[in-house]
Amino acid sequence: MSGDRYELNLLVIVMDVNPIWWGQQAQREPEFTLSKCLDAVMVMGNSHMAMTTTNRLAVISSHFQDSHFLYPCKNWTGGDGAWDGTMDEAPYCGDGKYELLSVANNVVAEEMKRVMSTTEMKGNSTDTLLAGSLAKALCCILLQKIVTFFSAGQEMKSRILVIKTAEDCARQYMNFMNVIFAAQKQNILIDACVLDSDSGLLQQACDITGGLYLKIPQKIALAQYLLWVFLPDLEQRPQLVLPPPVHVDYRAACFCHRNLIEIGYVCSVCLSIFCNFSPICTTCETAFKIQLPQMMKSKKKKLKQSI
């Protein structure tokens, strides 16, 4: 990987910046807030770009309003060419940092401020639009792939790192699964770093695409976890001792109660899953006859004895 100059590596970091969760988090744990999280993400991004010159970075913020590209961003007043880091007026950091990194950091910071300042509670939904952000990430990757292929003839490998805080949204399930399968088809890894509660959808995403799922016990050491587990790319991972894959719960949820069931009844016409038998399928209204086993007589006998 490192010796191959011609292979691009694109890392897309999708950050869950749900203000409600982060606001509550700031009240729960003041030592780890959105600022700290953002710092850790920047460290991760810088490290990735510092590995090889052909590494690229993209950062997307996932909000309940929309998904926004924090980096690279067209709103940067420094002009186009944010990918290459060539600026007309690069802000001076004063610490001798590689300019690309400092530009990236500044852009991310600025954009985040803007996103947060324009947060408004309009609708009722407080769920993070994660599926949409992932879809945007996929589009970005695809576009970059085409551009690099046709302009420079280079192959591009890419992966997505999701940093998740809030809970899963049930309504995004279909879109989520579509995104996952699209990523699998394109050989794009989806890694997941979960801060708060386990997410079944992300577990499935990581299992299907071949990425890593990790739920962090200590949020303040986020940067360390990111660098240890998520920085190495696909070719290096087999050679490292990384946390083993999680057992994924692939159980289906019944259509009536949304309980996860292992054994259930499936309508043969519309394939909807139920946990109890009902003579009419409520989804497609076909009537079913099922023959109950002839156990009635012996059951009665047993009842008598127990009395």
Binding site: G23, Q24, L34, L38, A109, T119, Q218, V241, P243
Partner: protein
Amino acid sequence: MAVYVKDLIRISHNWVDTHTCDVTTRGWILRLLINITASVVYPPLDDSCPSTTMASLSEEVLLVLKKVRQRKQDGTLYLMAERIAWGPEGKDRFTVSHLYSDIRCQKISPDGKAKIQLQLVLHTGESSTFHFSNDSSALTDREAAKDLLQQLLPKFKKKANKELEEKNRMLQEDPVLFQLYKDLVVSQVISAEEFWANRMSTTNTENTLSDKKQDVGISAAFLADIRPQTDGCNGLRYNLTPDIIESIFRTYPAVQQKYGENVPHNLTEKEFWTRFFQSHYFHRDRISTGALDIFSECAKQDEKGNVTHLELYRYIRSGVLNVLTAEGLPKEKKIGGKPASTSNPNRTGKENSNSAIIKRFNHHSAMILAAGSRRGDAPNDQASETSSTDGNSRDSDLFQPPIKKVWWSIDYLDLQREDGPKTVALNLKKSDRYAHGPVPLESQKYTTSQDIINSITCIRHEMANYVPNLAQVLTSSAVSSAIAALSPGGVLMQTGTQQAINQMVPSEVQGELKHLYIAAGELLRHFWTCFPVNSPFLEEKVVKMRSNLERFQMTKLRPFQEKVQRQYLSANITGHLEEMLQTAYNKLHAWQTRRMMRKI
């Protein structure tokens, strides 16, 4: 004097064969001879003895030897079809009688010794010794007895030991079974009968299938192999072995029929074969000679089998003829008339002979193939045999009315209207159910609107004052605890060690564990097949199986577990086995308590 009854019968057969030609006369004479010999051999009746009387003999006596001593008593030795017996002289009953299947082996005294003896050793270990004391023919008597026994004993031995051999063979063929046997029976966890009880029924059916070997077919060159040798004086010698004769009969049933008709009434075998080879039936060109040749009928029958114009006309008559491919049809104006002659007068003689040779070859090959497939079928008559060589069953077609045949031939499945299975229309009332993922409908956390507003303001405030401070991202304590969690053995790495259990224990231990699983599986299978407990036999078996399982646990499982724990520390690889055994015990306990309740 030794009287060989079988020899007598054979001699009489030969005599009768050569001197009579009538089957019934022959049979009568033979029966007479047997009666004569039987009366010589079978002594008169005596009812006074409880042991085996000779009167109850209806078995065939093969050899009778007089002046044979047993336990210093003179007597006569009788070898029968299924047993050997000895009776003292003057008495009419046998004092010693052994079935051939009981005899393990026979022993003879060495040649130089004065006493000429024969000893029979039984399976039980007992032995009986017979001393041949006839002055003149003791040695020949003993040799005769020994030879006969040598022929007879193997036949009976097979029956007795067949089961044991069967078992041995099974154990040798299947190493898993052998291991299971060692684990269970040798260590006395269960008895050998129980072990074999389940197995023998399954294997008996398998064996009958495997016994059907393939039959040897006929070599296609068998006729050519009878290479004739010139006799020196303008004649040819044909060497016919029984194999060749059998091949000829199987391939050409017509010849077999002729043989059955003519030999031995009209012709001897030698004459029959001479005529066969002389006949033009056998020769290449097969130009038909006079009707005197008995094989000309065979030629005509074979002709019937060939696909000739005859077949084409039959097809035309049946209304099923593909005009496009019917090439070479001789132009006949009357299609319903007689079939055309097989040979076209315009053809030259050479073409005729070529086509005849080719026809012969095809016919010969077809007959050989048909003979291979005909084996095992009931004997057919000639007509069906010829039709089988063609591969057509034209007879059934010919009996249908013509119009039906035409419809049948133009009826194709593809051209018919499709009559697919009836389908149910799908109308979904609540299709949004599919879009919902395996996530609870309502989120567990409930946030009030006030909370939401507070959170948002808080965040806005925080972000407004945000300055990246990348140098202070981590503290060393946080980092070291994170690294500890990520290192092998840490909090996050726990599931990994469980998966590597097969790397923690060496392969011999794994192999032992496999054997334990197989043995336990076998015992548990016996146990669980007893349920539901319907009969007293099953009740006993269940209790016995429980004790077997306990014994297995004590003798095999516990020591293994201890050994593993001593050497490999915390690996708990027998946990599952213990679970299975415990489930079985629980089931039995539940069943027993239910039974108690029922009795109460």
